[in-house]
Amino acid sequence: MSKKSNSDLLGLYRTMRRVRTFEERVGELFVRGQTAGSMLHLSIGEESAAVGITAAMKPQDTFTTHHRGHGIFLARGADPNRMMAEIGGKEAGYCHGKGGSMHIADMSLGHLGANAIVGGGIPAVVGAGLSARHKRNNAVSVAFFGDGATGQGVLYESMNMAALWGLPVVFACINNQYGMGTRIDQATANTNLHERAIAFGLNGESVDGLDVEEVAEAARRVVDGARAGKPGFLAVSCYRFYGHARKDKSPYRDAGEEETGRQRDPVAFTRARLIERGLTPEADLDTLDAEIGAEMDATIDFTIAQKEPPLASMFRDVFDPEEPEPEPVRTRLNRVLATE
């Protein structure tokens, strides 16, 4: 396997570190009671999947993500301020505070949306693949989802369609070993998930997420294959470092397992490799990390300073802005109670 060049590795590291640090700040925002909602799913431990796969994507490509999608979007180039503001439910967020952590989207970066429905964003990439074919724009569409989503039938339907039509579509499964409290082997008898994809006629691979270079290589094979007309499936195995959501202390797994799991840290691994290969002096990495820390600290201040969306925005964007907004209950009541 041809390893990527050294400057690439530093780039991959930087992005992974940014993801890691961003997620840590999300946790802080939560502790400070400033996130919208109790549902916050951090992707710590999964950085290589987000970074390795988005590295294989081109600007015209599109993607959908899942409830644990911050890292993917950040790796794709998101503005961390607008992301954090959305997580905080603020007007300055990507979705003006209506979506929150689980519903971030951004058309300018091809982000067709995160999803709070496990598997809910998967079939959309089939449609995006049809668009790409129709418009001959050479775009690949990638569905990111967790191992838990392999329980959803819609995944197999969509893989079948993609293979049947030879669509430029990739199914990217971030196998962090758990769906909430359910370990992957408690959710399926055959944990070699890519075998299913092969059985439907896709390219299918599994890769160890510890090494982001390997993930990036595998992703390139699968994404390029899809672009050439053979859709693919890539499972990246990693470990969900913390609980399912911010409040979950994972009582269903033992401390020993967690410790081992957290040793499989793609960020630390890549950092060590940069040093070990003599590519980047540790001091430079320290500086980089500190810079990223400061950048991400600022997202918290930014978010806290932002306004909540105005109440009037509640009826906006149910339909196209040219259409009348749905009538508020109060307006109807005013009318009805006035006529008496």
Binding site: G93, L130, S131, H134
Partner: protein, 324 residues
């Protein structure tokens, strides 16, 4: 004026819109080679090719989901659900995705797709192929809902749906496909979202849509013979709902009946009756009466099937008693 069937009108609407807009694609089971289970898309694959008329595996959730993704990336898909009864497997993609995407994402993007399907009784197709499930759709914020009753509306509403910036569920009635009418498709048509007053009368307003319009019109004739004159409103679209037209006539006439083939409880008739009662209370001389489908599954047996939904006789009889 050419004579057209409801089916032909639908087909022509698709063909005309597809000719105008290269981004329109059809996607669904048997829409291509087979020409649609009810023949609506017959030969469109020959005209527009298999890249625009896409036969799918039997995967309703992913058909609708693919349409959502296609709509978000610049196409204008028409997904077909062979029977509205299959809504149950697609409601996640329809109600959690298509209906909410614009809102959740803060208005960044819409989902301009049409979900064409057909429902209703009339072919003794049994409990899982005869339902009228428009209430599920009407109850879901973010979805438009059109239900043509006439040949002209089959054409025009579908044409209009194909320019909607928002997802439209378009429910045809299986018993109407072979209905013929002389229609001048160039005649002016009501705008999207406007109800049609199909008959004017001073005694009673009957609000309905889809196939029940024809039963109501038949009943109205029977009533007229007895000296009772009904105003008949065909809603055409349930979202947008043209309540202004309903209000105008109910306030004028003072009596209203709503007729729907869907199961009565928590159905479309409930919404219409509740709203009329709430907004036109001071004008009503009697309660708004609901004539709707029974709250039971539909049998394959023809007698039970027919008995489980309103028909002209029940409508006329009920109206007669309201005026007695």
């Amino acid at each position: 004026m050419p004579e057209l069937t409801y089916r032909d009108a639908l087909r022509k609407a698709l063909a005309d819109s597809m000719a105008e807009n290269p981004d329109i694609i059809l996607i669904g089971e048997e829409v291509g080679r087979y020409g649609g289970a009810y023949g609506v898309t017959k030969d469109l694959i020959k005209e527009f090719g298999p890249e625009r008329v896409i036969d799918t595996p039997i995967s309703e959730p992913s058909i609708v989901g693919a349409a959502v993704g296609a709509a978000m990336t610049g196409l204008r898909p028409v997904a077909e659900l062979m029977y509205v009864d299959f809504l149950g497997m697609t409601m996640d993609q329809l109600a959690n995705q298509a209906a909410k995407i614009r809102y959740m994402f803060g208005g960044q993007i819409g989902v301009p797709m049409v979900l064409r399907t057909q429902g209703g009784t009339g072919r003794s197709a049994g409990a899982q192929h005869s339902q009228s499930l428009e209430a599920y759709v009407m109850h879901t914020p973010g979805l438009r809902l059109a239900m043509p009753a006439t040949v002209a509306d089959a054409y025009h509403l579908l044409r209009q749906a194909l320019t909607s910036p928002d997802p439209v569920v378009f429910i045809e009635h299986k018993a109407l496909y072979t209905m013929k009418e002389d229609v001048d498709l160039d005649a002016p048509v009501p705008p999207w979202g406007k109800a049609a007053v199909r008959r004017h009368g001073k005694d009673l307003v009957i609000v309905t849509y889809s196939r029940q319009l024809h039963y109501v019109m038949e009943a109205a004739k029977t009533l007229a013979a007895k000296g009772i004159e009904a105003t008949v409103i065909d809603l055409r679209t349930l979202n947008p709902l043209d309540f202004d037209t309903i209000r105008e006539h109910v306030e004028r006439v003072g009596r209203a009946m709503v007729v729907s083939e869907g199961a009565m409880t928590a159905g479309v008739a409930a919404e219409l009756a509740a709203r009329i009662s709430e907004e036109c209370f001071d004008f009503l001389e009697e309660p708004v009466i609901r004539v709707a489908g029974e709250d039971i599954p539909i049998s394959v047996s023809t007698g039970l099937e027919t008995g489980s939904v309103p028909g002209p006789q029940l409508i006329a009889e009920t109206a007669g008693r309201m005026l007695a």
